[in-house]
C-alpha cells in the first residue's frame, strides 16, 4: 500500500508540471504566430545583422515570432542545407535562397502575391518564372566583378589613372613590378580561383555575347572559341608574368584579402560587397576601384540582380506571416538599405531613393562605375541568357587553379567544355 501511494505521488509530481507546461505553451501559441526563417550568415551579413532585422520586423508585427535558423554551409551554399531540410520534411517557412529554380521545380515554394509595392521592382518581368508566378522577393543588384586598388601604391609606381583597357592593365602591372610592388592578389586555393577567372573572362566573353550560356546550350558556341581562349590565355599570363602574386595557389579568401589590406598587393579583384566591409573602409590607405578592363576600354560590368531573394514554403502553416516576413526582408526600405550598405549593392526599385544609404567612399566609386556601365550581364553561376549547369563554379575553380599551377590553356578549356557537356541537362 505504501509503495502504491509513493508511486502515485511520484506520477503526480511528474505529470503535473508536464501538463501545466503544455498549457503555458498553448497559451503562448494563441498569442503569437511562430515562423522559422533560414538565413545565410556571411562575413558581411552577420548573425547580429539578421537578429537586428528580425527584431525590427517583430516590433512592427507584434503578433509574429520569428525563429532564426542559421544554415550550416561548410564549403557549399546555404541551399544544400535547405535541401536537407526539404528531404527531412522540416522546410523553413521563409528562406534566404540562392538557387530557387530547383526548389520551384520541386514545388517547395509558394507563389507570392504581386501588389503595388512589388510592381515597383524594375526587373519584375525578369523575376517572374515561366509558369507566370513570382517566387522570391528581392530588390537588390550586387556587382560581381570589380578590381579594387591601393591608391598609395599606384601613386608610388607612377600610375595616374586606373586602367580601362586590357593593355593599360598590363602596362600598370609592369609599372608596379618595376617599382617592386606585387600587382594583384587572388586566392587560388579556393573558389575565388574560379570567381576571379570569371571576373576577368566576363569582359572578354560576355561583353561580346550577352547570352553566351544560352548559346552554349544551343551548341552555337564553345569554350574552345577565340574569346575563351584569349581570356584563359590572359589569366594564365597574368600569373606567369607575376601580375598575380605567385603565392596565389596557396592562399585562401581570407589570406588574399588580408594581403591586400596589409598593403602588400596593389590590386584585388572582388565583388561589391568588399566596398561595404568595415576592414576595407578602415584600411590604412585609400582604396579605389575600377571595372575589369575590356579590350576597347568600354565600361562593362558583371552584376547579379534579384538572385538572392526570400521565398516562402508551400507547406508553411502560417503563410500570411511568412509572406509578410519575406516581403519585409526583400522589399522594406529599412531592411533592404541595411543590406545594401553592408554589401555595397544597388536598389532595383523604381523608388530607389527610399533605399538610399550612407555610402562609404569606396561605394561612391562603385556607384559611379555602375551608372556609367555600357554593357551589363550576369556571370559565374548566374544566368547569361540561361543558367549554367549546376556545379559549374567547381569547373571554373579547377580551370583557374590549373592555370596557376603550370597547367595549359588547352587543359582549362577541356575542363570547362567537358564539365558543361557532361552535366548540362543531367
Amino acid at each position: 500500500m505504501k509503495k502504491l501511494v509513493l508511486l502515485l505521488l511520484a506520477l503526480f509530481l511528474i505529470v503535473t508540471p508536464v501538463f501545466s507546461a503544455g498549457k503555458t505553451e498553448d497559451a503562448r501559441a494563441t498569442q503569437k504566430t511562430e515562423i522559422d526563417f533560414q538565413v545565410w550568415v556571411t562575413p558581411n551579413l552577420t548573425v547580429e545583422y539578421w537578429e537586428g532585422l528580425v527584431a525590427d520586423f517583430e516590433k512592427k508585427n507584434p503578433d509574429i515570432k520569428v525563429n532564426i535558423i542559421q544554415a550550416i554551409t561548410g564549403e557549399s551554399t546555404a541551399d544544400n542545407f535547405l535541401r536537407s531540410r526539404l528531404a527531412a520534411g522540416n522546410f523553413p517557412d521563409v528562406s534566404h535562397v540562392f538557387t530557387e529554380d530547383m526548389f520551384i521545380e520541386a514545388g517547395a515554394f509558394l507563389p507570392l502575391p504581386i501588389d503595388d509595392d512589388v510592381r515597383r521592382l524594375r526587373n519584375l518581368d525578369g523575376m517572374i518564372k515561366e509558369d507566370g508566378n513570382l517566387y522570391t522577393y528581392d530588390s537588390i543588384t550586387l556587382v560581381h566583378g570589380l578590381v579594387y586598388y591601393n591608391k598609395q601604391l599606384f601613386a608610388q609606381a607612377g600610375i595616374k589613372t586606373p586602367p580601362q583597357t586590357q593593355a593599360e592593365l598590363d602596362a600598370a602591372c609592369e609599372q608596379l613590378l618595376r617599382a617592386g610592388i606585387v600587382p594583384m592578389t587572388v586566392a587560388g586555393a579556393d573558389w575565388i580561383a574560379g570567381f576571379a577567372l570569371s571576373i576577368f573572362a566576363a569582359p572578354q566573353v560576355f561583353y561580346n555575347n550577352t547570352v553566351w550560356y544560352k548559346d552554349k546550350n544551343e551548341g552555337k558556341v564553345s569554350f574552345y572559341d577565340a574569346d575563351w581562349r584569349d581570356a584563359l590565355t590572359r589569366y594564365k599570363a597574368m600569373y606567369d608574368k607575376g601580375y598575380i602574386y605567385k603565392g596565389a595557389p596557396a592562399m585562401d579568401y581570407n589570406d588574399s584579402q588580408q594581403f591586400f589590406l596589409d598593403g602588400k598587393a596593389a590590386m584585388y579583384p572582388m565583388g561589391s560587397w568588399f566596398s561595404g566591409a568595415p576592414e576595407a573602409v578602415n584600411a590604412d590607405f585609400e582604396i579605389g576601384v575600377f571595372a575589369p578592363p575590356t579590350k576597347d576600354g568600354t565600361i562593362y560590368m558583371s552584376a547579379i540582380a534579384n538572385r538572392n531573394g526570400y521565398a516562402v514554403s508551400s507547406t508553411s502553416k502560417n503563410p500570411e506571416a511568412a509572406i509578410a516576413l519575406a516581403k519585409y526582408m526583400g522589399l522594406d526600405p529599412y531592411a533592404v538599405s541595411k543590406r545594401l550598405a553592408l554589401e555595397g549593392g544597388f536598389s532595383d526599385m523604381e523608388n530607389a531613393d527610399d533605399y538610399a544609404y550612407d555610402m562609404t567612399y569606396i561605394q561612391e566609386e562603385v556607384n559611379e562605375i555602375y551608372k556609367n556601365a555600357k554593357v551589363m550581364t550576369n556571370n559565374y553561376n548566374h544566368p547569361v541568357g540561361a543558367n549554367p549547369p549546376d556545379g559549374f563554379t567547381d569547373a571554373l575553380t579547377v580551370a583557374g587553379q590549373m592555370l596557376f599551377t603550370g597547367g595549359s590553356v588547352q587543359g582549362a578549356m577541356n575542363e570547362l567544355e567537358t564539365y558543361w557537356n557532361t552535366n548540362q541537362g543531367q
Partner: protein, 292 residues
C-alpha cells in the same frame, strides 16, 4: 514449452538491435542503391528510372576514376603508416615508466579532437601566410613554401595530418594487444637466448595478430570514407588533386545536384570498400589461426 518461451524471449531481446540496424544501416544502403538507378536531383518530388546508366557513367568519369586512385593511395598510406607508427609507439610505451601515461595521453588526444576543428588549426599552420611559413622565412633565407598550393605537397600534408589524428587509435589497440601476451612466452624466449628483435618477431608480432586485424581494418575503412580533413584543409584542391571519394560524391550529389549519379558512385564505393575489406580481413585472420 519453456525452451520455446526462452527462444521467443531471446528473439524479442534482439528485436531492438534488429530494428535499429534495419532503420539506420540497411534502409539507407538500400535507398542509396535504389537512387543510383534514378535521375533524382535530390529535391524534385519525382524522378525517372534510368537503369544502369549512372553505374556505367562512372567508368568514363575521369574525376571519379582519379578520386578512386587517390583514395586507394591515401588509404594504403594511412593504413600502413598509422599501424607501423602506432605499433612502435605501443611497444615503446608498453612498460610502466615515469611519464609513460603522459606520453600515451599526448599521442591519443588528437583522436578526440573534431577533424574539422583540427583542420582549421592545420590550415592556420600550413597556409601560405601560416605559422610554419612565418617561422621558416624568419630562420632560413627562403621564400614561403606553398604547402597547400602544390598538389604533391598538399597530399603529404593531408597524410601527415590524418596520421597525427589516427596514430593514437592504433597505439591503444596495440597496447591492449600487448597486455594479452603470456609472460611465460617471454621467459621461455629469454631462456632460449632470444634477443630483443627475435622476441618481437617470434612472440610479440604473432600474438598481436588480432590487434593488427582490427587496427588495419578500422584504418583502411575510415580512410576510404575520408571527407572532413580534405574539406577543411585543401577544399579538394589544388586542381582536385586531394579529392577523396566521399568528397567527389558530395560534389556530384549536392553541388552538381545529381543525387542519382552520386548514389551510384556511393554504391560503387561500397562495393569496392567491402570487397577490399573482406580480402584484407581474410588474409589477416589467417595469421590468427595459431592462437586457437
Amino acid at each position: 514449452m519453456d525452451q520455446e518461451r526462452l527462444g521467443l524471449q531471446r528473439s524479442l531481446m534482439a528485436l531492438p538491435s534488429i530494428v535499429i540496424y534495419l532503420t539506420f544501416m540497411a534502409l539507407p544502403i538500400g535507398l542509396t542503391v535504389y537512387y543510383g538507378f534514378t535521375n533524382w536531383n535530390g529535391v524534385s518530388p519525382t524522378w525517372d528510372m534510368v537503369g544502369f546508366r549512372n553505374f556505367t557513367r562512372a567508368f568514363t568519369d575521369t574525376k571519379f576514376i582519379y578520386s578512386v586512385r587517390f583514395t586507394l593511395f591515401f588509404s594504403v598510406m594511412i593504413t600502413l603508416l598509422s599501424n607501423f607508427l602506432g605499433l612502435i609507439l605501443a611497444v615503446a610505451l608498453n612498460k610502466p615508466r615515469r611519464g609513460v601515461n603522459l606520453f600515451r595521453s599526448l599521442i591519443f588526444i588528437p583522436l578526440l579532437i573534431s577533424p574539422i576543428a583540427a583542420g582549421f588549426v592545420w590550415k592556420a599552420l600550413f597556409s601560405y601566410t601560416g605559422i610554419v611559413n612565418q617561422f621558416l622565412v624568419k630562420i632560413l633565407p627562403i621564400e614561403a613554401v606553398m604547402f597547400l598550393g602544390k598538389p604533391d605537397l598538399a597530399k603529404v600534408i593531408l597524410i601527415i595530418f590524418t596520421l597525427w589524428q589516427n596514430i593514437g587509435f592504433c597505439m591503444v589497440i596495440y597496447l591492449a594487444g600487448l597486455q594479452t601476451i603470456p609472460l611465460d612466452s617471454y621467459d621461455a624466449a629469454a631462456i632460449d637466448g632470444a634477443n630483443y628483435f627475435q622476441r618481437f618477431r617470434y612472440i610479440v608480432f604473432p600474438y598481436l595478430a588480432p590487434s593488427t586485424t582490427s587496427a588495419v581494418l578500422v584504418m583502411f575503412t575510415s580512410a576510404m570514407r575520408e571527407y572532413p580533413r580534405p574539406l577543411v584543409l585543401t577544399a579538394g584542391g589544388p586542381v582536385g588533386q586531394t579529392e577523396t571519394l566521399a568528397f567527389r560524391i558530395f560534389k556530384v550529389g549536392f553541388d552538381a545536384n545529381q543525387l542519382g549519379y552520386g548514389s551510384a558512385l556511393a554504391t560503387w564505393v561500397l562495393i569496392i570498400t567491402s570487397l577490399l575489406s573482406v580480402a584484407i580481413s581474410y588474409l589477416l585472420r589467417k595469421r590468427e589461426a595459431f592462437l586457437k
